[in-house]
Subunit: 478 residues, 4 copies
């Protein structure tokens, strides 16, 4: 890839130029990676028209053909996995090892989509269960909802796009995709794969530009039947309030936590907690932000954790040994430092980190942060983790639940009663016993409660949201 | 029941007086049926507080106890069925025979709810289907969503309330119910049954007042986790736009149609079409408003249909022989007459009806109405039905689909190929082959596409909307 | 009930006399309870003819009517619960308190059946998932299998009959029931309730007589489409081998075990283990027969368990304070004593019990029994329980699995890892963590592996076995 | 492939010689295709030991690995599709075009298996639906049943093997496969693919020899947990009667029929009926054997059908233009001719065919055959089809149902009421509206009623039969 390459919009199966362009900079090196088209209102409209017109074609593709298209995407991505990982490393400053793991997961996501395309089905309804329903055959079908507007974030530029495109194509819908401004390259890359895989023209359209312009237009247009968004709660809620009767799926943020019980073997869990807290600089929806350790193990945990943090290598995302690289933007580095400062002012201690190196925020551990501090109650989306001690698991559960978010939470414990109690009481979308909250495989139902979102992803669950239930009844009474 | 009875609000298991009252008039006789409390902001707040505080109690009731409460409501309603029917006949001017049928269906609805309360369950997820998911046990549970704000219409004052309360209680939620202004009596009646049935205090609260005040407050309050509304599209959309991240279910209107193919035996289907068009004065969400008859049968159909209309008896809702009584309000009579007038001006013919007798609009048949006329493209919600001829079923399907609504549609045909084609092409929530669109049993999935709504009712489907999916994972890797 | 009452066969909705009779004696008092008809070959044939002819009627009953019949049985049984319990106490020598509990569960069983009758449904199959399957609509239906021969045991004369009749009637089948020779009264009693509930003639037929004659005839007759049997493995296997292509469900025996881990609070679990071991004299399929206690708790457990056994009251089944009464037959008392003797000869110790009082075998605890002894490897079906110590849970799991049976097993542990390991490794139909194996509610899937049986009961699961899957495909290609 | 090749048994991942061999002759040319090992009792025992010992390995493979093995088999088979088709053409005399279609379907079958391997899951059970079930978490898991003995027929030597191996491996079982004596080559071929695909040693074992020796040994061995058999009813029933408590799935024969209603366009359906009747010489379980035509269309149908039969080309299976080749054995040619003779003697007419050319039986159409003739009431498994006239569809349905078989049946009709009536009344495993009975895609539930079999295949359904349901309950009461 040349850094001066001029990318094109992908509309109705064509690669088209735009009126204006904006340079895409590497978050790490600040070099220009490409020139990205800024879609005009007309471009976006054209994309929507194309998607609208491709509806019938997509709806009539047999399941095995939709599946075959997705299987071909899987193959193509397997072949070009290194290229894909490098793109992500460059545009998102994601350490290359982590980027490769994302590619592997993206392959899984499309694979699950290819398979679920063949499993969309309904059920029969025994209408004679009610008086008046005799002699009728009834069953449900799931029809594609139509045109889906997909708005995706920078942090998993391949896999979170796959969680929109995979189920949408699997269920016979068409898509207008607006990727995050910082990560357009991987979106255009995947469009190329779909093109090669034989996706009908218009079924996928990719338009880049600002969220304000492109995003709002997608949300407002009445030809769009559903909006699926992953990003911040603020934007998510505003989308919901503008969406009218459109269906809306929102995967928003969190300040995920793990609880560590008194008898747990600390050595065994440290490496996993490190991964949870610092993977991709903490820029993960279910990044581990808060750790609540039973007082009997608190000191040991902090000591060992800090030792482990010291071994993390910061640097160039393309270097395979790098653990932590640049944040997605300078602005985020500054915001993070301010939040750390606020915590310090409020009496919290920075056990390690708390400084920047260029756009890299050094892995940071904060002790004794109060629940009201931004580093605790907001989503940090940076390599910052809090460790606090608790005197009981009940106390820890209350602290975890005292949040406007509720995506996932983890609990390390050997006690079966504690485990079930936590599973019941933690008010989140997913509870992980003996694991960090930062666990996701791509077929599991994923999504949060409270301000963490609305609806569930995970291919089969997303397909349910992307299809309309139709009831068909044959009356046999004559 | 005395006409001067002063009703009380039902909050936190108590019957409480309000600051002010408004008389409830019979739509048919205009006599005062009762004095209805107008809930203040404080009253509504109190109801929400009560519901919020009862959450934990309800969530912890075992399924068999939630079921038992609903079974007791079933028993009590069976015992007091005549009283219930009379209430509905009086406050809604629903002909008593139809009102009795509503009571019978309401019993079914609560019965299905009692049974589904015991069938809420999740599934296990084979996480090892993805690399990285080995040695984990995962399963889903469905937790009650919390406090549900239910806003219900006048046309099925018992059964459409049951479609909110039934699944809400079945799934362990609590409810703040605002019934339609014209039909509060049946709502308070059902609250009484729940009280006798042993529902925990605060689990059901009934507050009456204007939609503007009470309804808006329910929609805006952050302690309400879900709003379930049945009513007009305008109000429905405005609720959606104000609801933030609250879950919202909307059952809105329609201008439902039936298509009649050329070989169909007209005599056999006339009685059913009459029921579809004029039952409860056409004030039914899936009332038959548009009839498209193949040209080979058009003349015969119109003649026989008009003959049948002539036999309908209009009058007092309490008279068992009455087929058609007063519309719900004077305003609706006037609106209906204006729409008929507009149709006539535009060249349509009134084959029969088109006049009022007091608040009764005589059953009205309009021929040759254009698709753009209000009687065709809006929801009439009055005893008005259009009959139009078509030269093919394809044409008819296009006419049916040319609507901003899409709730249910019927097709009478003997031809198996036509039947499946219609089932596929009709863009509605439910297609009825060889039946009118005005068919519903209370366990089937019910709801529309386009502006007919959002989400599905039918107990099991409503329960799904009223519960939150939680994923629980046990990691066995050590 | 008079002891000299002469019972009648119930065939085709008629109560008919037989050629010969046999006296039914109380296992406890040896008094004659009734004269029981011995069905001839002709009687049984007549019952089969009746069931065969009623097939069509039953298959065409709408679901809500099948459900209503079962709901009426529920009501009638609630009204006559005391009478039912007394019958069971008399004919089976089941302590009256336990008999009452059985009646309560039987009510649940029929209630679940009434509800599941309305939930039998199929699913649609997306045939276009395979090339060549385009443009086809496909779905499954579940049709009643036809005539079911039900052969039931003495130990739950009401509830194990309910587990055959409930699902059979719910799914539109007809039944020829042969109850255990010792417990015909409750079978005729339930037939009476079905008759009052309006079950169509011929849908249920009850014929008493020897297993050899009546049972074999049922198994051999080609008009019987399915045999459902609960009883001994020997009889079960012989039924299977004679059944040809008939469907067969077998619920056979077990020598169920519980494992007790080292940190468990012994005081808390003793009462439950006592119930598991001695309820209805241990004559329960999932009776607790083997207890494996971690060596650190073995001594404490034995001491406290024996103390608790001493408090059990033996005596008349009609006395509400009786815990343990007579075994079902003298023969069983003798067999039990022989097995105990064999154990003693082999070096095991009888900690308490090991003697008879009339037909009552005193509650017996045996320590140090070897796995090869009959009291360990056979199903004792008597108030005998073994307690053995183990040095690890793994050892205990191996001992539990070293059995030709595999119905249910329990594990008491606080450790979450141990719990999951046991759940995985125990080779049984049901694993109970922190409970005895003697747990069953009537809607759960129930049944064993190895010689414990074949197929699952629990209403919904039994219905699946009692229905035939039919696939219906509409080809729309022209 | 050389005709003198000596094949080896495949046991425990090794290719092993046997004591003795038997030549495999081409049914068409009688040339020797290979020398096939005759497994001794020791060989079979060794295969069972290997399968038994591989159980644990297979049970512990994560789903994604089981799936990956099957995906690799899919790839390998795609690469070697021509070779596979040729093997089938040679050993079974299946016309090469048909053999290629079988390979394509076999690929689908393994593909579905690969996908279903990742979808085996259970569900949670709300135990608190019953009193006494409070505070318990319960869910089901599906465990592999263990060692599966698979006995397969000659007619789809690849795909019917795939319907055993696919689901067995997908669900973590191990297999001892005994292919049909006439078609061992394709079985060894597929074993080679599994070996290359990395299936653990012992998970698949292929042993050839006589049904009497090898088959009986498999059925009798207690280490075999399930027998899955496709073949004749006689053998099937005898297997069932010897199987003890083993699970048994039987896919047996049929004399499948199609019904043709009066308004059907005959020209359109003739080609499909020809395929149904003569594909692979009628040696297909759901081959079209009986055609019942409404009297108004009978003459037209017969004339056009005979014209079409005349165009069928008989000859060498390797010739791409061949439609009909040799029957599987000389014995079958003779049997077929005898049955035709019996029909003629009884008054039936042979409209065309009825003669042999070498081992080819010419495509034969018989008119006016009585229901009691062997060609009608037995499974012909030869290119013979009956055409009979009926005066009503009801009459036709009765004739179809008057059979000891019930696999699939087809009905051609334009009338929606007739279609549903037939779907209800035809007593078969699968009803095809507007299609021949000879339709199958490999994921649909497939299997018959009456003597057509027991259990259902179609990957997901077969997996259900090949797994054991285990219930796991965590008691949270303390």
């Amino acid at each position: 890839m040349q850094t001066t390459e001029k990318k094109k919009l992908y509309i109705n199966g064509e690669w088209v130029e735009s009126e204006s362009y904006t340079p895409l900079l590497s978050p790490y090196s600040r070099e220009v990676l490409a020139e990205i088209p800024i879609a005009t209102k007309q471009d976006v409209n054209w994309a929507i028209v194309a998607a609208d017109e491709a509806r019938r074609t997509m709806a009539q593709l047999p399941a095995h053909e939709r599946s075959a298209i997705l299987e071909r995407v899987v193959s193509l991505l397997q072949q070009r996995a290194d290229e894909a990982a490098k793109l992500v490393a460059l545009e998102a400053a994601k350490p290359i090892t982590t980027a490769k793991a994302e590619v592997a997961r993206t392959i899984q996501t499309y694979k699950f989509a290819a398979e679920e395309a063949k499993r969309i089905h309904g059920e029969t309804i025994p209408l004679d269960a009610a008086p008046g329903g005799e002699n009728r055959i009834a069953f449900t079908v799931r029809e594609p909802i139509g045109v889906i507007g997909a708005i995706t974030p920078f942090n998993f530029p391949l896999n979170l796009v796959a969680h929109k495109l995979g189920p949408a194509i699997a269920s016979g819908n068409t898509v207008v995709l607006k990727p995050a401004s910082q990560t357009p390259l991987s979106a255009y890359f995947i469009a190329e794969l779909f093109e090669q895989a034989g996706l009908p023209k218009g079924a996928l359209n990719v338009v880049t530009g600002s969220g304000k312009t492109v995003g709002d237009q997608i949300v407002a247009d009445t030809r769009i039947n559903m909006v699926t968004f992953t990003g911040s709660p603020e934007v998510g809620i505003s989308i919901r309030n503008k969406a009218g009767l459109k269906r809306v799926t929102l995967e928003l943020g969190s300040n995920s936590a793990v609880i560590i019980d008194e008898h747990v073997d600390i050595d065994r869990i440290i490496p996993r907690c490190i991964v949870g807290a610092f993977s991709f600089q903490g820029q993960v929806c279910i990044s581990l932000q808060r750790i609540y350790v039973h007082e009997k193990k608190y000191k040991e945990f902090v000591e060992k954790f800090v030792v482990a943090v010291k071994q993390l290598k910061v640097g160039d995302p393309l270097d395979p040994s790098t653990d932590v690289s640049a944040l997605i933007s300078e602005k985020d580095v500054e915001r993070s430092l301010q939040w750390i400062e606020e915590a310090k002012q409020g009496g919290a201690t920075v056990a390690i980190g708390g400084e920047r190196q260029g756009n890299i925020l050094l892995p940071t551990v904060i002790l004794g942060a109060a629940p009201t501090m931004k580093v605790s109650c907001q989503e940090v989306f940076a390599p910052i983790v809090l460790i606090n001690q608790v005197s009981s698991i009940d106390e820890a559960i209350e602290l975890v639940n005292d949040s406007r978010y509720g995506l996932q939470a983890g609990v390390y414990t050997n006690n079966v009663h504690v485990a079930w109690e936590a599973a019941e009481k933690l008010h989140v979308g997913g509870v992980l016993i003996n694991d960090i909250p930062t666990f996701r495989v791509d077929h599991m139902p994923y999504g949060g409660v409270k301000e963490s979102g609305f609806g569930r992803e995970g291919i089969r669950y997303a397909i349910e949201e992307m299809t309309e239930l139709k009831l068909i009844i044959f009356n046999r009474n004559r």
